[in-house]
C-alpha cells in the first residue's frame, strides 16, 4: 500500500472510469479505467496531450458528458464537507443532488473565455445566475454577492462593469468573470480545464496566481487540467499523468517532475523546449519512450515512495492479473 499508511482525506475518488463515444465510424474508448484521488484543499494537476481524456474526465465529474459520449463503467465518490458523501456516476437525472453538484459543490472554468459567456446577457446577470441556481436569495442579493466576487477576482470599477456585456471585456477579464462565476457559490472543488491556454503569457501568469491565491483563501480543492508542465510546477501539489484514456503515473509534483518513473512521463518532460541544451535537437516523446510499451493497460502499482504508476513488466511493472 501507500508509503505511509496514513489515509489521505480525499474529496473525490475516481475509480475505473470508462467512457465511450459512439460515432458513425465506430466506438471510441475515450476513457479506459481512469482512477485517481483528489486530496482535499490541494491542487491536483491532470496533464497529458490532446485527446488523452483530461477534459472528458472533468466532464464526467460534473456529469455533463453529452451524447454520443456515455459513462459505461466506474464510480466517482464525492465527500463534500457537511454533507453525506455520495457517488456521482449513479445519480439519476432527477436527483436534486445532480443540480446541486453542478456549479454548487463542484464548478468549472473553461479554456475559451472568449466564448464561455453568452454575449446577450450582462456580466452581472451571468454571475448572479450561478447564485440563483443554488440558493434561495433575492435577485438584488445575488447581484450584490456577484459584485463582491467580481471585485475579489480583480475587476474594479464594479458598479459600471457589472452592467457591461462580455464582449466589452478583454480575454483576461472574461476569464476572471468565469472564475468569479465558478467560485461565487463557494464550491468544494474547482475544475480548471486549461484556463490559461487561450490567454497571452502575461495574462496567463496573472490568472494562475489568482486561482492559486483564491484556492488558499477559500480552501477549496482544485483540479487543474493542462498540457503545460511549466504551469504544473507553479500551481500543483499532486500530478496525474494521462495518456490515451488511461492514467500512467500519479505522484507529488516533486516526484513526477524531478524523478519521473514512467517512460511516457520522462518523454513529456524531455520534450519541454527550455530544458534542452542550446543547439541540440529537442527530444520528442517518441525518442525518449523508445521501445517501451506505453499503450497496453498495465495495472497501477504503488511504489515505495507513495506514487502510483502503470509500468510494463520489463520495467518492473506488476504482472497483469
Amino acid at each position: 500500500m501507500a508509503g505511509d499508511d496514513q489515509a489521505v482525506d480525499a474529496v473525490l475518488k475516481v475509480r475505473d472510469l470508462a467512457v465511450d463515444f459512439k460515432t458513425d465510424t465506430g466506438l471510441t474508448h475515450a476513457l479506459m479505467g481512469v482512477g485517481f484521488e483528489v486530496p482535499r484543499g490541494k491542487v491536483t494537476a491532470i496533464v497529458g496531450e490532446s485527446g488523452s481524456g483530461k477534459s472528458v474526465t472533468a466532464n464526467c465529474i460534473m456529469r455533463i458528458i453529452q451524447p454520443p459520449g456515455r459513462i459505461v463503467d466506474g464510480s466517482i465518490d464525492f465527500a463534500p464537507k457537511g454533507m453525506d458523501p455520495f457517488e456521482i456516476v449513479s445519480l439519476t437525472k432527477k436527483d436534486p443532488r445532480l443540480q446541486e453538484l453542478r456549479g454548487g459543490l463542484i464548478s468549472m472554468v473553461f479554456q475559451e473565455p472568449m466564448t464561455a459567456l453568452s454575449p446577450v446577457y450582462k456580466v452581472g446577470n451571468q454571475v448572479a445566475e450561478a447564485i440563483l441556481c443554488h440558493r434561495k436569495v433575492s435577485r438584488g442579493q445575488a447581484w450584490r454577492e456577484a459584485a463582491e466576487m467580481l471585485e475579489r477576482v480583480g475587476i474594479d470599477d464594479i458598479d459600471r462593469r457589472i452592467q457591461m456585456y462580455p464582449f466589452e471585456f478583454s480575454g483576461g477579464m472574461r476569464q476572471r468573470v468565469v472564475i468569479a462565476m465558478a467560485l461565487v457559490c463557494h464550491p468544494e472543488v474547482l475544475i480548471c480545464d486549461e484556463p490559461t491556454t487561450a490567454l497571452d503569457v502575461t495574462i496567463q501568469a496573472e490568472i494562475l496566481t489568482l486561482i492559486k491565491d483564491l484556492q488558499r483563501e477559500l480552501g477549496n480543492s482544485v483540479i487543474f487540467i493542462t498540457h503545460d508542465l511549466g504551469v504544473v510546477a507553479q500551481i500543483a501539489d499532486q500530478v496525474v499523468v494521462m495518456y490515451q484514456g488511461r492514467v500512467l503515473e500519479i505522484g507529488t509534483v516533486r516526484q513526477v517532475l524531478k524523478q519521473p518513473v514512467h517512460p511516457y512521463t520522462k518523454g513529456l518532460l524531455a520534450a519541454i523546449p527550455g530544458l534542452a541544451p542550446k543547439g541540440e535537437r529537442l527530444a520528442t516523446i517518441a525518442t525518449v519512450v523508445g521501445d517501451a510499451d506505453i499503450t497496453t493497460p498495465f495495472p497501477m502499482q504503488t511504489l515505495a515512495d507513495g506514487r502510483q504508476v502503470s509500468l510494463p513488466p520489463e520495467l518492473g511493472g506488476a504482472q497483469q492479473a
Partner: protein, 327 residues
C-alpha cells in the same frame, strides 16, 4: 441607440423616394396610358370622341406634361394624401386602398405570428431531438410545406372544405355579413374566416423559419457558453431557452423584414384564389387595366409597409442583441 434609430429613420426617406421613382417608371412602361384605355372603351361603346375632348382629358390627368413633371405631380399628391381617382372603379383611390389595406395587413401580420407560433416550438423540438423519428417527421412536413406554393395550398383547402365538409371557404365574411356595417358579430365572423388564409399564407414561412431555427440551434447547442451554463447548474429546460435559443432566434428576427414581401405576394395570390377583399386581386385588376393611379398607390403602400417592416425588425434585433446595439 437613439442615434441608431434616428439614422435608420432618416435613411427611409431616400429609400422610399427611389422606390417611388421605380414604381412610377414601371407603371409607365406598358404601351398607352389611362386616357388611351378610357378611349378604347368609349369607342367600343360607340361613343365618338372629339380631339378636343381627348386633349382636355389628357390635360386633366397631366399627361400632356413631361414625364418628370408627371412624376412630381403624382408624388406630390401622394404626399398630401391625394392618391388620385380610379377610372376603373370611378372612385377615389384613397377609399379603395384603405378598404383593402386593412385586410391585407391583418392577414399578413397574423400569418407572421402563426409562422412564429409554429416554427419556434417545432424548430426547438427538431434540433433537440436531431435524427429521431419526430425530427424526420417535422423535416418532411417542413419540406412539403416549403415546396407547396400558397395558391395551390389554398385550392386544396377550398376543395377539401367544399367536398368533405360542404362549406365555402372563400372570402373573409359569410354572405350575410358581406355588406353589413362593422359590428361585433361581423368581427367574429371575420375571425372565423381569417384563420384559413392565415394558415395558408404562413405555412411556407413557418416551414422555412423552422428549418432555419433548427440549423441555428444545432450550431449553438454545443457552444462553450452553453456548456458553461450547464456546468453552472442551470436547469435543462431553462438552459435551452435562455442560452442557445436566445441566440438562435436573432437571425430570424432580422428575417421578419425579409419575410414580409414574400408574405404579401403570397397573400396576393391566395387572395385571388380565395376571393379575399385584399390588395392582391385589386392590384392585378388595376395593372391589367392600366389604372395607373390605383396600381401606383397600392405598390407604393406595399413598399412603405415592407420598408417599415424591415426597420421594425432591425430595431427589434438591436433591442434583443446587445452586440448590434453597441456597434
Amino acid at each position: 441607440m437613439r442615434s441608431y434609430i434616428l439614422t435608420r429613420i432618416a435613411g427611409l426617406i431616400p429609400t422610399l423616394a427611389i422606390i417611388s421613382v421605380i414604381i412610377f417608371i414601371v407603371i409607365q412602361l406598358p404601351e398607352g396610358d389611362i386616357v388611351s384605355s378610357m378611349l378604347d372603351r368609349l369607342q367600343a361603346q360607340g361613343v365618338d370622341t372629339s380631339e378636343e375632348y381627348v386633349q382636355n382629358l389628357r390635360a386633366q390627368y397631366n399627361l400632356d406634361k413631361p414625364m418628370v413633371i408627371q412624376y412630381f405631380y403624382w408624388a406630390g399628391n401622394f404626399l398630401t394624401g391625394d392618391m388620385g381617382y380610379s377610372y376603373l372603379f370611378s372612385r377615389p383611390v384613397n377609399e379603395l386602398v384603405w378598404e383593402r389595406l386593412g385586410y391585407t395587413l391583418s392577414i399578413t401580420i397574423s400569418a407572421l405570428f402563426f409562422t412564429w407560433l409554429v416554427a419556434l416550438p417545432v424548430g426547438i423540438y427538431s434540433a433537440l431531438r436531431q435524427y429521431t423519428i419526430g425530427d424526420y417527421l417535422m423535416t418532411t412536413l417542413a419540406l412539403v410545406g416549403l415546396a407547396t406554393p400558397p395558391f395551390l395550398l389554398a385550392l386544396i383547402f377550398m376543395h377539401i372544405g367544399f367536398e368533405w365538409f360542404g362549406i365555402s371557404t372563400g372570402g373573409l365574411f359569410s354572405p350575410e355579413f358581406e355588406d353589413a356595417s362593422w359590428s361585433f358579430a361581423k368581427f367574429a365572423d371575420m375571425l372565423a374566416h381569417i384563420w384559413l388564409p392565415m394558415v395558408i399564407v404562413g405555412a411556407g414561412g413557418a416551414a422555412f423559419t423552422m428549418r432555419i431555427l433548427r440549423a441555428n440551434l444545432l450550431d449553438e447547442l454545443n457552444k462553450p457558453y452553453v456548456v458553461t451554463a450547464r456546468a453552472k447548474g442551470v436547469r435543462p429546460a431553462k438552459l435551452v431557452i435562455k442560452y442557445p435559443v436566445r441566440i438562435a432566434i436573432n437571425p430570424f428576427i432580422s428575417n421578419i423584414g425579409l419575410m414580409l414581401p414574400a408574405l404579401i405576394s403570397g397573400e396576393a395570390l391566395v387572395g385571388m384564389v380565395m376571393g379575399l377583399p385584399t390588395i392582391g386581386p385589386l392590384l392585378l385588376q388595376s395593372l391589367l387595366n392600366q389604372d395607373m393611379f390605383l396600381a401606383g398607390s397600392m405598390l407604393m403602400w406595399l413598399a412603405i409597409l415592407v420598408v417599415f417592416g424591415i426597420l421594425l425588425s432591425d430595431l427589434l434585433l438591436a433591442w434583443v442583441d446587445p452586440r448590434i446595439r453597441f456597434e
